[in-house]
């Protein structure tokens, strides 16, 4: 555990150091880091902003467990960047303001539209941040023996430092540091495991290579191993094709519509820089996302190898002597980490056939043995990974520091959305229009501090309810169905007006919320799903309705004023931005 403490303490000291160095002096610094972040630096910050505790801690485990079905996360969470790069980011940067509600409110010349966008942004960001704070709590309590709530408290203090002091400027540079920590922490165990299993140091190549010292490909071997135990083949899925399609779509369009991702592209100098920056962001993200399926499949092989048919050792017994006895009898002792992780209830053992050995089985085991690994959480594949693969002690410490970096960097990005929604969109742009820059900066810091507190409480609260994984579907579904359509139409269709935008956002918000709520909490029977689409994928379906409704309503109501149409033409062409009438009267573009 000493290594863990070392890595966590060192990285935290680094983040605080950066926070003190990168203080914000104006609202321009605080909201958009002065519009002058280098595209590559912003790409790195975006990657950390984007890759959350879920990407770092849960995704490979989910893929390990779901096999081909896990591809929805891989394609969905990377493909969204293509949409961002070609449909949104450069144009929003050319528009040249601070927040997503800024664009919605000014482009649709409407306070109501601005307020609905604020609501969407707040809702999406709060559901998302609860998961991050929970991740921080889990990392602290699972690895450092700190109590869950205290862990969240420590996380809050760290984020408080750089989000409140530095705003977007502080967040940007800490995110860069956090990206370096998290990608290193992810890659090192991946390389170790790839060498052990496939003899190839590049995980992406080991993934398509042969098992070390055998003449069978890693994936064939894995398919055979899992089907022998009664699981579905690794390269297959039991999801319907349409549902795969819809979930991938909801994640892609949701990614493109997430406010905390979009605002990162406001920090660069120009539309051109925003495009390049999106490319770099995806490069940095792809380093982790192409390694994740390799890590997932290696972890699945390792877990089955070490656990299945191993002789169990009770908690009270002396592990070393008992393990030696079992080995002497020609048996396989259960690895020591098993008992350690049993305490977290992520895994367990019920000896159903009374033979003292752990039988790990799927739903249709050919040998008729029942599964005895109960409970079983897919998260174990990543969390216990370094131990399963017998990696050196310091690697575990590195993974903890990486998980914390992933959670804190995403939390900070979300905090910026929440605080700017309050201080900028609600106060400055709606209720107190004559507030000066200094006061707004003060309010922004206050709002950031309040948001840190609220996020911490939400993390504590969410862990008690245990529904974080469920509500993440909300964030993507809502972003896809309510924010993406109106931003997209606002750029690509000049005729889109205020009435259409309001109708479209309201439809997306209400329908998606109702559907997810109903099928997650009221009626959990999948056979009742609309068109067979799961709550995770419904945002994609409702997005098309939302776009259609927006267009129909806009056609039935008057066209937007000429100044707005000029504005739309203006933001389509980089480097020509001038002020256009009422839309830019209150806040000139920069």
């Amino acid at each position: 555990m000493d290594w863990t403490l070392f890595f966590v303490a060192t990285t935290f000291a680094l983040y605080i150091g950066i926070a003190i160095w990168a203080r914000a002096g104006s609202t321009n610094d605080f909201y958009v880091a002065g519009h002058d972040v280098h595209p590559v630096v912003n790409g790195m910050a975006t990657a950390a902003d984007w890759m959350s505790a879920a990407s770092f801690l849960s995704m490979a485990g989910l893929i390990a467990f779901m096999g081909y079905g896990g591809s929805v996360y891989l394609m969905g969470w990377t493909g969204g960047y293509v949409l961002l790069a070609v449909l949104l980011a450069p144009f929003l940067r050319e528009f040249g303001k601070f927040t997503v509600p800024d664009f919605v409110g000014d482009r649709y010349y409407s306070t109501a539209a601005r307020l609905i966008a604020v609501l969407c942004a707040l809702f999406v960001s709060f559901t998302y941040i609860a998961g991050q704070m929970k991740g921080v709590g889990v990392a602290f309590s699972g690895f450092l023996g700190v109590e869950f709530n205290v862990g969240i408290g420590i996380g809050m203090v760290i984020v408080f430092f750089y989000a409140v002091l530095g705003g977007m400027k502080g967040v940007t540079y800490t995110q860069v540091a956090q990206y370096c920590v998290l990608i290193f922490a992810y890659t090192v165990p991946a390389i170790f495991m790839s060498i052990i299993i496939t003899d190839n140091p590049v995980p992406q190549l080991g993934f398509i290579g042969n098992m070390a010292g055998e003449d069978i490909s890693m994936l064939d071997k894995l398919n055979k191993t899992v089907t022998d135990l009664g699981f579905l083949e690794y390269t297959q899925t039991d999801k319907s094709m349409f549902d795969m399609f819809a979930i991938t779509g909801a994640l892609m369009f949701g990614t493109a519509g997430l406010p905390h991702v979009i605002i990162r592209f406001f920090t660069v100098k120009s539309a051109k820089a925003a495009r390049i920056s999106a490319g770099w962001a995806l490069v940095f993200i792809a380093l982790l996302y192409t390694a994740a399926p390799a890590v997932g499949s290696f972890a699945r092989i390792n877990f089955i190898d070490t656990v299945n048919e191993a002789t169990y050792i009770q908690d009270g017994e002396d592990y070393a002597t008992r393990a030696a006895e079992i080995k002497a009898d020609g048996g396989k002792p259960i690895p020591e980490w098993y008992g350690y992780w049993e305490k977290t209830s992520l895994i367990g053992f019920e000896d159903k056939n009374g033979d003292g050995k752990v039988q790990f089985r799927g739903p249709n085991p050919p040998d008729g043995n029942e599964n005895e690994v109960i409970p079983f959480s897919a998260d174990i594949h990543v969390l216990a990974n370094p131990q399963i693969a017998n990696l050196p002690c310091w690697v575990i410490g590195l993974v903890v520091a990486g998980g914390l970096a992933a959670a804190l960097s995403t939390a900070a990005g979300l905090l910026m959305v929440i605080s700017s929604a309050v201080s900028h969109d609600l106060c400055k742009r709606t209720f107190f229009k004559d507030m000066d820059d200094k006061t707004e900066l003060l309010v922004a810091r206050g709002a950031a501090a309040g948001a840190v507190l609220a996020a911490g409480l939400l993390g504590v609260f969410a862990s008690q309810l245990g529904f974080v994984a469920q509500v993440v579907a909300f964030a993507f579904g809502l972003a896809a169905a309510s924010l993406f359509p109106i931003i997209f139409l606002g750029i690509f269709w000049k005729r889109m007006n205020k009435e259409g935008a309001i109708a479209s956002m309201l439809f997306g918000l209400i329908s998606t919320f109702a559907y997810i709520y109903y099928f997650k909490f009221v009626d959990t029977d999948p056979t009742n799903w609309f068109l067979g689409v799961s709550p995770e994928g419904i945002g994609f379906v409702f997005m098309w309705f939302s776009i259609s409704i927006g267009i129909i309503v806009a056609m039935l109501t008057p066209a937007p004023p000429q100044s707005i149409q000029d504005l739309v033409e203006d933001i389509r062409v980089p480097g020509t931005r001038v002020s256009h009438g009422a839309a830019d009267a209150e806040m000139p573009p920069a």
Binding site: I63, Y68, G70, S71, L74, M75, T78, G79, Y81, V82, L83, A85, V86, L87, Q204, L205, F207, I208, G209, N210, S217, M218, L219, D220, T235, M241, M244, F245, T248, G249, M252, S270, A271, K272, R275, I276, A278, G279, L282, V283, A286, Y289, T290, P293, E569, R572, V573, P574, G575, T576
Partner: protein, 88 residues
Amino acid sequence: MSDETQKTNAKAYWKATIRLTVSLLIIWFAVSYGAGILFREFLDQFSIGGAPLGFWFAQQGAIYVFVALIFYYCWAMARLERKFGVEG
């Protein structure tokens, strides 16, 4: 440059941008939804290294193509901007 030519240039530039965007999105769709989901079973009869091709597209290939698409977009847009005299 007069205001009039600037306006026509902007119009032509936007038209070319849309054409480029649509072609890139067709590729974007083809490698993910197409190769990774709709035609996966057909593609799985081929393999790349030890992985079925459709499965590989869904877990690796699509991501590589996405990266290439964005950088190509940056390059092609810079070319369009030069061609139509729009500053980047």
